[in-house]
Structures are given as structure tokens and as C-alpha cells.
Amino acid sequence: MKLARELWDSLFESLVGLGSVTRFLLRLIAASPRALLRLDLVAQQVYNCGALSLVIIMLSGLFVGMVLGLQGFQLLQRFGSEEALGTAATIGLVKELGPVVTALLFAGRAGTALASELGLMRATDQISAMEMMAVDPIRRVVVPRFLGGVIAMPLLAAIFSVIGIYGAQLVGVQIMGVDSGSFWSQMRAAVGLSDIYEGIVKSCIFGITCSLIAVYEGYYAMPTAEGVGRATTRTVVTSAVVILFLDYLITAAFL
């Protein structure tokens, strides 16, 4: 009985949470057109979220691609179709690993930075100070950061996939000796626009999701050291779970 009660309570709580996140998203969208007029603010945030995450994204992309090249080669060799390595690695990267791994890294690198920055701004009265200066903090601070993340994430995912394909090629062709011509030509023949389209849709949706969770957690963080810490943790955990769940839904929708 007690268990059922607690389950019901936590279900109710998550529904309330989902509702307030949705309202927050609508507020952000409503404020976005005017925030876009101040391109310098958004560009600064694209730099913060995107350019500063480049190294981690490129390194991870390279290693993921290399592992994919190695594993793919081992597997395909059993069926004597090593030439399909290019196709396998590309499909895997563009449709799945690129968007998903980038989003997870993005939540860890840029999402936590956003959440803790906003949380600290609230804790040190910077948000209240803006309100007192008759400046809407949502429009001045939150929306540029949200848009910065939304723009940066698909670009990062694309870079991740390209570097990953190069990593797979590095291992498959240069080390394992797959024929370079068939690696690239099979890939070009088999990978269609719809595959790339799926990757783009995923990375855009993940970008919105990660940025939204980060700015929401940060903006509504308790204005204490503990509150900011909790907001940062929740950003990573919630982002990871939601991304993997959405990944399944989108994949199913594209079948």
C-alpha cells in the first residue's frame, strides 16, 4: 500500500516536472525570435558550447571510429565481406553513434557548464539583479544559451561522424588491409540520403533536449552550493536517460 502510494507520488511528481519543462520550452521558443536579433550573444554561446567541445568530440569520434573499424572488420571477415566495412561503419556512425555519443558527451561537457553557470548566476543574485534592471533574464541569458546549444549540437554530431568514418578507414584500410576503393565506393553506393537525414533529425532533437534540460536545471537550481551541484548532476543523468529513450523512439519511427 505504502509502495503504491510512493509510486503514485513519484509518477505525479514527474508529470508535474514534465509539464513545467514543457512550459519552459514554450517560453524559450516564444522568446527566441527576438533573441536571434542579437546574433552576437548567440554566436558567443555557439562558441562556448560548440567550439570549446570540439577537441573532446573529435578525439572521441576518432576512437569510436577506430573501434568500429576493428570490430567491423573482425565480424565481416567471417563472411568474407570486409569490403562492406565502409558501409557498416558509416551507417553505424551517421545514424546511431554520431548523434547519441555526441549528445552524451555534449551533456557532460556543455550541459553541465550551462547548468552550473546559470545556477551560480541565480545563487549570486545575478538573475535577480537583471530582473531589477528591467532586463528579462530568460531573453538575455537563457535563450542565447539554449539556442547556442541547439545550433552547436548537430554540427558537433556531423564532425563526430566524419572523424569517426576516417578512424574506421584508418584501421580498416591502412592497418587491416581492406581495399581502399571498395571501402569508399561501397559506402557511397549503400548509404542513402535517408540515412543521413535520420542522423540529422536525431542530432537536432538531441540538441534541443540536452540544451533544454541544462538551462532548465540551471535556471531553477536551488540558490545554494548543494543546489547547483545537484542541478549539474541531474543535467547529466536526465539527459543521458532521455537521449537513449528518444533514440529508440526516433529509430522506430524511421523504420
Binding site: T124, D125, Q126, S128, A129, E131, M132, M133, A134
Partner: protein, 271 residues
Amino acid sequence: MNQSAAIVEIRNLDYAINGRPIFAGLDLDIARGRITAIMGPSGTGKTTLLRLITGQVTADSGSILVAGQDMRTVRRNELYVLRRRMGMLFQNGALLTDLSVFENVAFPLREHTDLPERLIRQLVLTKLQAVGLRGAAELMPAELSGGMSRRVALARAIVMDPEILIYDEPFAGLDPISLGVILRLIRRLNDALGITSIVVSHDVQEISTVADVVYLLSGGKVAAKGTPQELQSYPSEIVRQFIGGLADGPVPFHFPAPDYFGELLARDEGP
């Protein structure tokens, strides 16, 4: 508009946080062009009163008129227009940490006006000169001391030439020199710019040197009102305790707790 009338009028104000009453039937006037101090023991809701006056929170009942606007019925965009006529100095300065001192002071101008860069520069440097920190214009907030941060925040608060300037605990944690500087600035800005100043503080000595009128809050009401000199000899125990800094009195030394011996002798049942 009657220039001599109160710029802030509070009548019969009730406000509670989580069912705990903070104000019950509070009446308070803030005179135009004067320095009004709001004092009281910690937890009497001084900062809450500022939040009510500035419309950051809404009262449960009663009325708060600020420059003729009722803060209980004011709409969001009207509130923002009203706030451009107010400046507020937060306890820790609340400077935007990603902007330099110059950009912090320029922030309200850039957000609200389309002034040319040359004019913004002049305005910002004038205000920084007024607080004595023109030389620190290129520093970042993290490079400033507590007193300097507060002076920069003060420059930012006056850059839009407000009618009302609100100070939340402006003396907390300052060394005697910075404190003297802030005191002098409060007086000078008030007289030179004709601003109405509201100072929330519990530093009795400091406030006495600068305030024209002092309100002492206690138990959700005004316990005393008068000039600092009048308060020194005010015939009320709570005022005597507060002004004299006595440890025990109407404001008890002990937080409400169960019987001391009873609790000490109780069996170990955890805290």
C-alpha cells in the same frame, strides 16, 4: 504629482511565507528625496520588504504604492517600466561575472537604450568616477574586493538615473574604510542626484550617521519610527534592545525549543 508626498506608501500589508506570517498589518511611508533606513533584527523580513517594494514578490493583502503604481495589480511590462526608475544595490553586488567592470555599468544602457558608443562610454566613466573606480574599468568582477564590487554595483544602479535607489545591507562585511566610502556615497548620491534612498541594514551606528528617518521593524510591524536621535531614547523595550545591542530581551536569545533539562535527561531517542 505632489513632489513632497511619499514615493512609497504601504498600507495594511500582510505577507506570509509557507504559512509563517512575515508582515501583519504593516504601514510604512518612504518620503521622496530622503534617506530612509529600514532596520530590525535578522529574520524580521527587511529584505522581503524590499522584494515587495520592487515587485519581486506579491503581497497577500494590503496595498503597496510605488510612485503611484499599485504593486499588487501591476502588469509585467508596467513593472519593467517602473523598475527602470529604480536602482538596487544587492548585498554582494551581484555583478555579472562574465562582463568587465565597464560592461557591467554599461549593461542597463546597452539593454534599454540605443545610445552611440561614445555617449555610453562617457556616461559609464562619469558614474565610475563618482564611485572612485574609473581606473578599474577594465578589471573583471573576480579581481575586485568586496567593497569595490559594491561600488561598481552602485555605479551600475545609478547609470540609468533612477528616482529610487535601494540598498540591501550595504555595509555587511566591509572594512572600516570601504564602509566610510559607501556611507559617503549614499549621502552624496542622495543629495546630488535628488534620489530617494531606501537602506536596509542592521548596523545601528553606521545608519545613524546617514539616515534621515529610521523605521525599526519587529514582529511584522513597525516597532518605532523617527530620526536616529529620537530612536536612541525611544520608550520601548525592543528598540532599547536593538539599539543597545543587548543579547536578551523581547527578542529572545534562545530559538524556541522544548524544556532544556527535559531534553537533556530524555533517553537516547536520537536528536
